[in-house]
Amino acid sequence: MKLAVCLKRVPDTTAKIVIGSDGASIDETGVKFVPNPFDEFAIEAAIALKEAAGDGETVVYSLGGDASKETIRTALAMGIDRGVLLQTAGSQDGLEIAKALAAELKDQDFDLILFGKLAVDNYNYQVGPMTAELLGLPCITSLAHLSVADGKVEGEREIEGGMETSTCQLPAVLTCDKGLNTPRLPSLKGIMAAKKKPLEEKPVELGAGTFEVLGLELPPERKAGKIVGEGADAVPELVNLLRNEAKAI
């Protein structure tokens, strides 16, 4: 099985975000960056599928600057075989990114191309399905369960109030949701091995695109919580406050 994983470097979800002076991007100083958590489900799925198949190749692609090499090496440390950095200053336009990925991925005979369902930095849900469209491949999004057999993939996705099961032929594009698996941690040996795995760098030109982020705003600060007591004794007061103060019930 030949599997591709597309991976984005994003700010750690616990990082304290400061908006940059342009008002439309984040200030990256002192921010810790990590592999997009949803992409980690894709990495785990790819490694597990290759392990189950007994042979094959897993390749991770990331679009970004030099710093994305560290993110790629995290995937290599988890067990992906090799990495490709598509070097660019990046773009906010999902379609331009999908075009660059599709240009790279086409004619490479991947059985599956895996994405996270969204990147936690901009929550666009776009790049996976757009890449599928550009490659003319079927796509199942937001997978919570996945099985591959006889040249077909069967996926389950959580939909409002239930589960949907769908199937498509390989090759296909999948986007992965939480719950699909538990991504493994990079082992210490894996971290050492990652340094020796191939990491190819290819400059890519992104189109200007038509999409632009105009502004970013932090959510209003949450007010401090209130502890009304502990255990069963606290319930009447809690109900009282929910009813009369918060007017939630």
């Binding site: 995290t74 941690l185 082992s187 210490l188 040996k189 971290i191 050492m192 401090a224 919580g225």
Partner: protein
């Protein structure tokens, strides 16, 4: 999802770590968040080492991580190794102790003093957690003065016969193999101390759990009794010679403990910061009081100082120029510092601070063991005193 620990890094020490060092640290940190933190409080109260963690730690490569890859180890540098110890001790000193003993006190002496056959046989099994080791140096009457030990090894036919009692042995009851230090010559002659690899199922070998511990409760501490324990000639660590051999092992372990102290202190600091911001008393968070702010400022200052000293210690170790005296200074400082942080954190938490649900009192109690083992705080004072003055006061 488990709570994520984000560390304490006031002076951007991360910028002095390599990508690989940070990656190692992050793996251990996440593992501690996900696997250790949810169970450690209960394990501590029950007084049981959480054995289910042994294979997980092996799988991720925590045992003997600074030893070569050819033995199934990760082949990391010593700063990475130290960061592993820091992160484990952020969880619990008992878990760090387990890994310290396995790596620095069992695998290290086999690697350093063992024959090729011994290395090839034991190291991969210890790295994979298939075998668990313990280190028997301390005896009931010889703690701070191990050179005086009275366990004997006598040559007999084509093997050795060991007799004696070892006390306070971490992993003693769990271990499948023990490194036993014994005198092969006169009891008055510390130069005759040699190390032996003794499978714990050998006839005459018994381990007894040390009951009643109020510290390091999630760790196995045992007494070892050796009665006419007969081992083949191949059990002797051929390159071990004299009391300096076990002391070399202790230098390795103490190096890791110096890092570990920082981890425990960070855990207590983090808990203090978050608790003080959430605990409202007199209509404001206790974080908004000068007394608690002083506690927090002191903790952060001491942690930051220890971080840079210990990072440099690691760089010296990687350069091959680190001395045991430098290790003594860091062990002494950092464990004492962590003990102080834990005590202050426990106090800041008020009544909640005495609960196992919070971490600070567990760290506080644990650190009393760490303060005493691997050379008591006092002994490191005397080692430094001797180094400074040229005069031994012990």
């Amino acid at each position: 999802m488990a709570n994520k620990f984000s560390g304490v890094d006031f002076y951007d020490m991360d910028s002095l770590l390599s990508e690989e060092e940070r990656a190692v640290r992050d793996t251990v940190r996440t593992w501690v968040d996900e696997q250790l933190m949810p169970i450690i409080g209960d394990a501590y109260v029950e007084g049981k080492f959480p054995e289910q963690l042994i294979p997980q730690m092996a799988e991720l490569g925590f045992y003997g991580a600074n030893l070569p890859e050819r033995y199934g180890c990760a082949g990391l540098n010593n700063v990475s190794y130290g960061l592993i110890m820091q992160e484990l001790e952020r969880g619990d000193s008992g878990i760090r102790s387990f890994a310290s003993v396995q790596g620095a006190l069992v695998m290290y002496p086999i690697h350093e003093f063992g024959s090729d056959e011994q290395r090839d046989h034991w190291l991969p099994r210890l790295a994979s957690g298939e075998d668990i080791g313990c280190f028997g140096l301390t005896e009931p009457d010889y703690g701070s003065n191990p050179a005086g030990l009275i366990t004997t090894a006598r040559e007999d036919g084509d093997g050795w016969v060991l007799n004696g009692t070892k006390m306070w042995i971490t992993n003693g009851s769990q271990a499948s193999v023990a490194i036993i230090w014994a005198k092969t010559g006169e009891i008055s002659d510390p130069a005759s101390i040699r190390g032996f690899i003794v499978p714990t199922d050998t006839t005459g070998f018994a381990a007894r759990d040390q009951k009643g511990k109020l510290s390091l409760r999630a760790s196995d501490t045992s007494e070892l009794i050796l009665e006419d324990v007969r081992v083949p000639a191949s059990a002797l660590l051929p390159k071990s010679s004299g009391v300096k051999s076990p002391l070399m092992c202790l230098t390795q372990a103490r190096y890791g403990i110096a890092w570990g102290g920082i981890g425990a202190a960070m855990a207590c600091f983090e808990e203090s910061v978050s608790y003080s911001q959430n605990r409202i008393m007199f209509d404001r968070p206790i974080a908004q009081t000068q007394l608690q702010q002083e506690r927090l400022a002191n903790m952060l200052t001491e942690i930051t100082k220890a971080q840079f000293m210990t990072l440099q210690l690691g760089r010296l170790k990687d350069a091959g120029t680190m001395t045991p005296f430098q290790v003594s200074l860091a062990k002494r400082n950092n464990v004492n510092m962590a003990t102080e942080c834990a005590r202050e954190a426990r106090r800041l938490l008020g009544a909640n601070g005495i609960l196992a649900e919070y971490n600070s009192m567990r760290h506080m109690a644990n650190l009393e063991s760490v303060y005493t083992y691997e050379g008591t705080h006092d002994m490191h004072t005397l080692i430094l005193g001797q180094k400074i003055t040229g005069l031994s006061a012990f």
